[in-house]
Symmetry: C2
Amino acid sequence: MTTTPRKFSIVCIPGDGIGVDITEAAVQVLGTLSDTFGTFTFQFTTLDWSSKNYRQRGYYAPEGGVEGLKKYDAIYFGAVGWPDVPDHISLWQMILPIRTTLNQYANVRPTRILPGTVSPLSACAADPSALDWVIVRENSEGEYSGHGGTTPSSAHAAHTVATEVSIFTRVGIARIVRFAFETALRRPRRTLTMVTKSNAQRHGMVLWDTVFYEVAREYDGRVAYDKMLVDAMTVRMVTRPQSLDTIVATNLHADILSDLAAALSGSIGIAPSSNLDPSRTYPSMFEPIHGSAPDIAGQGIANPIGAFWSAAEMVRWLAGASDGEGLGAESMVHAADCLMQAIANVTEQGVKTRDLGGKSGTKEVTDAAKKRNAGAA
Amino acid sequence: MTTTPRKFSIVCIPGDGIGVDITEAAVQVLGTLSDTFGTFTFQFTTLDWSSKNYRQRGYYAPEGGVEGLKKYDAIYFGAVGWPDVPDHISLWQMILPIRTTLNQYANVRPTRILPGTVSPLSACAADPSALDWVIVRENSEGEYSGHGGTTPSSAHAAHTVATEVSIFTRVGIARIVRFAFETALRRPRRTLTMVTKSNAQRHGMVLWDTVFYEVAREYDGRVAYDKMLVDAMTVRMVTRPQSLDTIVATNLHADILSDLAAALSGSIGIAPSSNLDPSRTYPSMFEPIHGSAPDIAGQGIANPIGAFWSAAEMVRWLAGASDGEGLGAESMVHAADCLMQAIANVTEQGVKTRDLGGKSGTKEVTDAAKKRNAGAA
Ligand SMILES: CC(C)[C@H](C(=O)O)[C@@H](O)C(=O)O
Ligand SMILES: CC(C)[C@H](C(=O)O)[C@@H](O)C(=O)O
């Protein structure tokens, strides 16, 4: 049986620093994967939205640029941030507006320990299966609303005061909680832990708790769930990792917990992140959780594993696109599994960058992954 | 030479759950310590501000109760919180108003690995000296301002929105940053790491960064300092603990990081916390950082080490009270050191509660510490 391959247009935004290195590596790996399977192809477009351009032209994305992303099937994002642009400018010009404009309210961050890599926790070094989590992060509101201000605006008066306003909506909370329960339903242990700081923060955080328990009723008997305070949650992650499975938290809390999770799994360099619009109205965005790492940029030593894992998540997500039924979708899910298997083989055989205790460069790891992909299908 | 001992009036608020067990243990240990040294005495007053009373009488502290604490020399606090009172009510009725009313803007949280205890991090299990931190927490404003609200107030409408408003003042930031630099100056490595999330939060967090660098200039050449984002900070704590020394962060960030720090040091049961009014206008408050632990309350198995360490910090703080000069102060600092030594001896010899992997109960650990105190001076 021959069918025409499914075609996807992917827009790449490599951004800054090692974002460029790892995006290139991911594009190569995705190319081998689609060649091998033959049931899908990617057409890549690259946008040079970087800090360098910001300095030259005064903007990251041009006027209407973020809106323009809506025509693609998915966005592949590297990293943004460079020492000569204040971080709050670079982020508010690019990554944060993309997440909110494109309704990517669900940020999914799986964490587990890859074969051949070692957790800094003794318990997980002895038993890597003890750490297997998916963090579901609210990605559109909360502490990242951007609201607030500084008065007097100079910030230099002795009596200056500044605020950060976190905004939580019932709609926003209910939809991410429901998404998290659905995620938990598809995991073998069917367990969801909800995190807030509703003891000290008595408005938005209390609303979060309230809405969580309302939605939870729909899943009674199907998903086991409990509630943690964010501070105590870090203790549980470190001391009882095997007690956790799916986790749902606010934008800021999940940002912190997912970095900690990545570190506990061995390196922030391996961790993926999917910014999803679950309604599939707009394209979703896939990015490793690490940053632009100016200190190692351009040296060919960045770990591309987080980028590959993000690419695998993209393939899996695209499998479910509206044209995807039957064999086409199955084959892409299979391709995503094969890419994950390739990653695991590569780390298992010690082809690892320095952050994982290895000696290989980005290219070696990429070539090894491509080779395994080519042998897959 | 005989001098009359310095007298201090200490008000104890045991609160709920294991707060009661460990406060009793701390009072006993402080008693042995003052008996042994003879240069200072404590007069204890105990206030029954608990969740039980809240349920019976409708309040934790009676009208004017928090103001009434001003007449004591120090406050010793156990823990507050019980399942049948929502946490945001118990905390806002007691612990949070005490911290702010009494101007306790500096919350100091030292962390290190006690002899005979084991860090969950392999690197620190091999070299316990790799983890030796003091977290300085802003304790009066920021994310704990309590401001914000819910509209419509029922919280049940489909369009309900709730806010949490973090308030940062130049005065509040400058004083805690200065306090942190002074703390770092007294530490052997003289290094300070400042934590914010000023890439995503662009108002109050940016003010924090700005004020930090202004104050930092006063310490140039005397203290080495750097800046971290809170998410990346968790990675650094786990992967490069030896690179950190003194840490300063906002109310919420430091709350999270100090729980993580305690867990990495072996158990949240050993971690102390000093809520200081550095101006000494009002009494300061000393409390272990663990909570009321309803699951193990009243069973005689709570770890009293965090309570003893908090008591040692109290003795050290009181040594510097306005009447304290020369021998009186020196003797109390020596007493605080001896109590810390007693704690270390006890854990080293394996007299440990279950959370530290031991088999002893609260009473055994307490008796062992008392015995070592008695032999001190
Ligand atoms: C780059 C930054 C906006 C970001 C965040 O805080 O969301 C990053 O830390 C992440 O986790 O994706
Ligand atoms: C009990 C609660 C108010 C508290 C806090 O969040 O400050 C606790 O977690 C702490 O760290 O002292």
